[in-house]
Amino acid sequence: MIPKVTNEMVSRGAKRQEVSKSNKQKEEHEEPKVLTSSINNRMLAGFHRTSNAFLEYPAKGLKGDINSNFYEFLAMGRVPYLIGSGTFIGVFNAASKFFDSRGAQKSKKIGLKLAAGVIFYALAKTLSKDLVTRPVAWATGVDIEQPYLNVIYPFPKVILTEPPKPNEAGEKGQKRIIQDLAPQYQYQKLWESVEFPRIDLVEPEFFDKVARKNGLGENLNNAEGEAKPILKNVISTATTAQRISSFLWAACGVALAACGDWDQYYDTYISNTKLGKTPINKDMTWKEKLGVKISNGYNKTKNATLALKDAFASSAKELYNGAPGSKGFKKHAGKGLIFAALGSTVFGVANTIIRARSMGKNLCDEKVIDKNQDSMVV
């Protein structure tokens, strides 16, 4: 079954695709390409995935497009995260403006604190991933965040030239034009799957590096074969470490927002917009006005940043030391949470590296065959 699109149904988007298709046809067949694991590339990949998850993939999915695929479904997984965060903030905050003034003030403060919790959750979760992946990449040579640009050639689109009209025999015969669609790009990660790692995309030097870093030795005859088990092991251990620890760091983020004196920060720098502003006179020239505006903005940002630093410091202190006057579990809960996150990160990284190294060592220690030799005497 190939879905059919009548003339009327051909959207402007599809027409545009047609045009781009005709250009693309002339080009050569594109191959997936590996990208460097720079922050730039990873951000680009994230942006591509997120923007398409909001703009393109839902449109395809809602139509039930045959070219919708699992990648798109997974990419759309971040839609509920982002909208949900917003809704959570909304649940805590949006109703407050309808409350009476005192109730509104009180609920706004609580709401802002909870909103900060949501934001810190997301920030801590995203940023903490590097705590695992960077050391692992450095020590084992496997960067599980390594992106590559995948190219997908979708099923062709079928366009009917004539509106369907049953012929005399009652059959609905139509003339079709089958048109190739523009290739789709997906930013995927090389080592996202432990069962199907994209080893076909990496250069042989990659395996030499992995073998060398994990103690298998250099100039191996079959570096790929030797290093592949280590690669798979690292994917499994590092991914698990990253997943578990990032949620614990996210928990620390929420806890941080719950601690300390954020109220003052909100009061002074968020709700009070007029603070420390030089008033603008009507008599000023536009240049002077601009200057005052810029300096106002600069001052506000500067003060807010400084205050943010203080608020951070005070809440981090409180998170670690417990609320003043608290005892026992209450006093040590924050510390425990931080150590749990830190512990899971250190354990995860150490576990990954030690396992990879010991695999390399074990393979090397089986000195039945010297892998650096072309032949051996039995």
Binding site: I66, F98, D100
Partner: protein, 926 residues
């Protein structure tokens, strides 16, 4: 060996590949026997018995069933844990790696909930943190079921969220990856797994070519659409559903928690009572998990009170100079939550023990301060100006008195000033300038110095305030001696306070707070039920007492018109009042309330003791007795040192015989009693208000004078007028309001009449406030007596407020034989009036409005998203023109049948015509 095999295998593989490449002409069959020829040579079905075949597939679709799904839930959780283990050991597959994400989510969520409980004080919010997490996880699971796939199943006839177990036993979603849908698992064993039945539901023509393929494509498309819808709606639906679930659950859970805490309170209070008062120690299971937890807590707990005192008085501090901050640190540490005034009293006693009132610890720092003081006093004086006496010289004089630089001495204040003066004198005497001067001048200078000493050089003027103490051995022993006693008292006090807080505390889940919330809500719902007032109107009433008063008067007037309504409303408030009393005083102890708040008689010294509040057998009585007992135990424990710890004993137990009312024992008791009184009075005030409205209504409709009570001389016109004022006052007035309102000094008679009418009392033996017969009947004897006593009390308060009336030399109402001491203090007067109904309504309206607004907003959002996703189903799975439809087929068949019938009819007609013709022909022939 493994490596050798591996290499050998590789070699074999390479060899074979080489052969394949190099020998194009060599047929493969020569190297590897292939079964193809075998097949080709047989015309019959080959005998497959000896051939290697794949195992039959183990994969299958998951079927519903409640118990099965519970079993599967636990199986999946075990699988999750195993996934994490495999992940960390490097053995996980992709599916297991996916599961680690969910485990992380739950782990992080639990961490958040556990941490946030430490930021909450009450039990209820603590539990709500975990309930919130559970609601979130539930909403995530529930939303796709009720919002997406449930409706999809109804509309399209199949489960787009169908899951299956694959050959490796992994639980997966059938339609998750549109490019790989295991349709072969739809074996048709059940209707929901039967493609043909699903095709029927979808209305695909029964005679369609490749019908199952069309069905599959439709299923794939619809599932894809629904999965997308799921992702798009979850962001809105899950948080709102979470909030709604939490909100709903909280309403059910709160009474449960409050009840549990109340039970715990009763149990622990009884245990403590029998332990301390009756001397029976209950057998406690020390091996219970709770005590293990306590032991653990003790392990990380800080030192006990006696340990802290012992440390303070240890060798470390012996004969050392201590500062005030050392002392206040100790005091603050051991007396947190010890009750009002205890830490101040302890600090006072300890400092008196450590140093006598007229003594001062003089050390180098003190010398320095003193020298500076002297310098400032002598500022500009000749002695300093002329360099006769320098600052250093003053210091030297002082140090000479006080020994070496690092040591200290304890000196009498007067001694210090004397010594300094003498030092200065001798210095002057030995100064060369003075010596050189004549004796007259010398005497003049000395006289000048003497003069200075009496004016500027007094002890108060010159000596800096000392904040230093010295821990002598005697002081250490004295302080140490009360360590154990103080610890016992503080531990008992804290325990009693904790127990008390379970029921009487201010936290939202204590019974006291819970009943207030209930009263507020019930009364607001009576006056402003949701079907009567719109949210918009409700908003205009917030923080607007005048508007609330006006609106409430209207509502109450309509309620009292109907006997049924009136009784219903009255009994609702009454049930809360009596329920509260039952909860606070104990079952069957409600009667005791009046003696609890009234008190009996003053003690020997004319002062009121805590015994005034005692009512035998009630929970509060037990509390009072325990409170008194632990305080008197403390006093007894101090023994012969009581003179030294006078302030502390006064603060905790009160000095014997007088001024007991400032002690901790008394204040704690007072607090409990006033809490009970506050609530009951608020209820009584509502009841009285309702009764007044009722009486007014009955009086105005019937004109019957009985409704005026025992005020026969009030004329009817006056009565109507006064009733009107009373109706407004009972709702919102405070005691000072009456004075102002009536301009009572000018119109005492009017006010007198007013009191008689509104706070009436019946004549005869029972001289308490008047209630209408229906009201008394509805309230029952106990409650109505409590209300009437309150009305009587309020009449006295309003009519005889010392503050407002005594200077007028005129008391409106005859108080009879006693002035109620319970109304002496402003607090007592305030309490006796109760919270005004309008205040109560104002808070109730705020809460009602806020929670309604919130609920409507997010309930609305949820319902909106829900309806949108249901509506979407009707746009999903649209069949294009190439799909043959069952309805078309049926229409076609019907059309054909019609055509056939028409044909038959025509044929029949023709036949009939023919027969007729033949007949006619035959007739003609005849």
């Amino acid at each position: 060996m493994a490596t050798v095999n591996k290499i050998q295998n590789q070699t074999a593989f390479t060899q074979r590949a080489n052969i394949d490449q190099n020998s194009n002409n060599v047929a493969m069959e020569h190297l590897i026997p292939l079964p193809r020829r075998h097949y080709r040579n047989h015309n019959t079905i080959p005998n497959s018995v000896n051939m290697i075949k794949p195992e039959p597939g183990q994969g299958h679709l998951i079927r519903g069933g409640f118990f099965r799904s519970i079993g599967r839930f636990f199986k999946n959780r075990v699988y999750d844990v195993k996934s994490v283990y495999n992940g960390y050991t490097g053995k996980a597959n992709d599916h297991q790696l996916g599961r680690t994400n969910d485990v992380g989510l739950v782990l992080g969520g639990t961490g958040i909930a556990a941490f946030l409980t430490t930021r909450r004080v009450a039990t209820m919010p603590k539990h709500m943190e975990f309930i919130g997490l559970a609601s979130f996880l539930t909403s995530m699971a529930l939303w796709p079921k009720i919002g997406i796939f449930g409706p999809a199943r109804l509309v399209h006839g199949f489960d787009a969220d169908k899951r299956y177990i694959d050959d490796q036993g992994r639980n997966k979603s059938v339609f998750q990856d549109p490019n790989y849908v295991p349709f072969d698992l739809y074996t048709g064993r059940k209707k929901s797994e039967n493609l043909s039945a699903i095709g029927d539901y979808m209305g695909i023509a029964k005679d369609a070519k490749n019908r199952d393929d069309i069905t599959k494509d439709q299923m794939r498309k619809i599932a894809n659409q629904n999965h997308t819808l799921w992702m798009l709606t979850s962001g809105f639906a899950v948080p709102t559903l979470t909030a709604l679930l939490c909100n709903g659950f909280e309403r059910v859970y709160e009474p449960f928690i409050v009840g549990q805490k109340a039970k715990k309170h009763d149990k622990e209070l009884n245990e403590m009572y029998s332990e301390i008062v009756n001397g029976i120690t209950s057998q406690k299971n020390t091996h219970s998990p709770k005590s293990v937890m306590k032991k653990l807590q003790r392990a990380i707990k800080t030192k006990s009170v006696s340990e802290k005192i012992a440390e303070f008085t240890s060798v470390k501090n012996l004969n050392k100079v201590l500062s005030e901050s050392d002392l206040s640190k100790l005091v603050n540490e051991i007396t947190t939550d010890a009750g009002h005034g205890v830490s101040e009293a302890l600090a006072e006693d300890l400092s008196a023990i450590l140093i006598k009132a007229d003594e001062i610890v003089v050390d180098s720092k003190y010398t320095e301060d003193l020298a500076k003081n002297i310098e400032s006093k002598f500022q500009g004086h000749k002695l300093l100006k002329n360099g006769i006496l320098t600052l250093d010289e003053i210091k030297t004089i002082l140090l000479e008195q006080n020994g070496t630089k690092d040591s200290y001495s304890v000196l009498n204040k007067n001694d210090i000033t004397d010594k300094i003066l003498n030092g200065i004198k001798s210095k002057l005497a030995s100064s060369s300038e003075i010596k050189a001067a004549g004796s007259m001048t010398r005497e003049a200078v000395l006289a000048r110095v003497q003069d200075l000493a009496t004016t500027k050089f007094t002890t108060e003027n010159i000596l800096p305030k000392s904040t230093k103490f010295v821990m002598t051995e005697e002081a250490a022993n004295t302080i140490n001696s009360i360590g154990a006693t103080l610890e016992t008292y503080l531990t008992r006090f804290k325990k009693l306070k904790d127990i008390n807080a379970l029921k009487m505390g201010d936290l939202a889940d204590s019974q006291n707070a819970f009943y207030w919330g209930k009263l507020e809500k019930a009364f607001t719902n009576i006056i402003y039920p949701h079907n009567v007032i719109t949210s918009k109107n409700l908003k205009t009433l917030i923080d607007n007492p005048k508007a609330i008063e006006a609106e409430t008067i209207k509502r109450l007037e309509s309620i009292v018109r109907n006997d049924g309504d009136y009784k219903k409303v009255l009994s609702e408030i009454n049930n809360l009042k009596m329920g509260y009393l039952k909860a606070m005083l104990g079952d069957g102890m409600e009667e005791q309330y009046t003696s609890l708040v009234k008190g009996s008689s003053p003690n020997g010294n004319g002062c009121w003791t805590q015994r005034n509040y005692r009512t035998n057998g009630t929970q509060i009585d037990k509390f009072i007795e325990l409170q008194t007992r632990i305080a008197s135990d403390f006093r007894a424990g101090i023994g012969n040192k009581s003179g030294l710890f006078r302030n502390l004993i006064n603060a905790i137990a009160g000095p014997d015989g007088w001024n007991y009312s400032t002690s901790v024992a008394h204040l704690e008791t007072m607090e409990n009693v006033s809490k009970v009184e506050n609530f009951v009075t608020a209820c009584d005030r509502i009841i009285h208000t309702l009764d007044l409205y009722r009486r007014t209504y009955l009086f105005e409709t019937t004109g019957d004078e009985r409704y005026l009570g025992d005020t026969g001389f009030i004329n009817k016109q006056w009565a109507s007028k006064l009733f009107k004022e009373g109706k407004a006052n009972t709702l919102s007035a405070h005691s000072t309001d009456f004075f102002a309102k009536f301009g009572a000094l000018n119109k005492p008679e009017k006010f007198q009449n007013y009191l008689k009418l509104i706070y009436n009392r019946t004549s005869g033996t029972d001289s308490l406030g008047f209630l209408d017969s229906l009201t008394s009947e509805t309230l029952g004897p106990t409650s109505s007596r409590i209300t009437r006593e309150w009305i009587d009390k309020l009449r006295r308060l309003v009519g005889n407020d010392n503050k407002n009336w005594q200077y007028a030399g005129f008391w409106v109402d005859d108080l009879g034989d006693y002035a109620n001491e319970m109304l002496q203090t402003p607090e007592a007067r305030y309490r006796a009036q109760g919270k005004s109904p309008v205040e109560l309504l104002n808070q109730g309206i705020k809460k009602s409005y806020n929670s309604n607004k919130w609920l409507r907003m997010f309930g609305g959002l949820f319902i909106g998203v829900f309806s949108l996703s249901i509506l979407s189903q009707f746009f999903f799975g649209k069949k294009d023109s190439t799909i043959p439809l069952e309805k078309d087929r049926i229409a076609r068949i019907k059309k054909e049948e019609r055509a056939e019938r028409r044909q038959n009819k025509i044929a029949q007609k023709e036949a009939e015509a023919k027969a007729k013709q033949i007949e006619m022909e035959a007739a003609n022939a005849n």
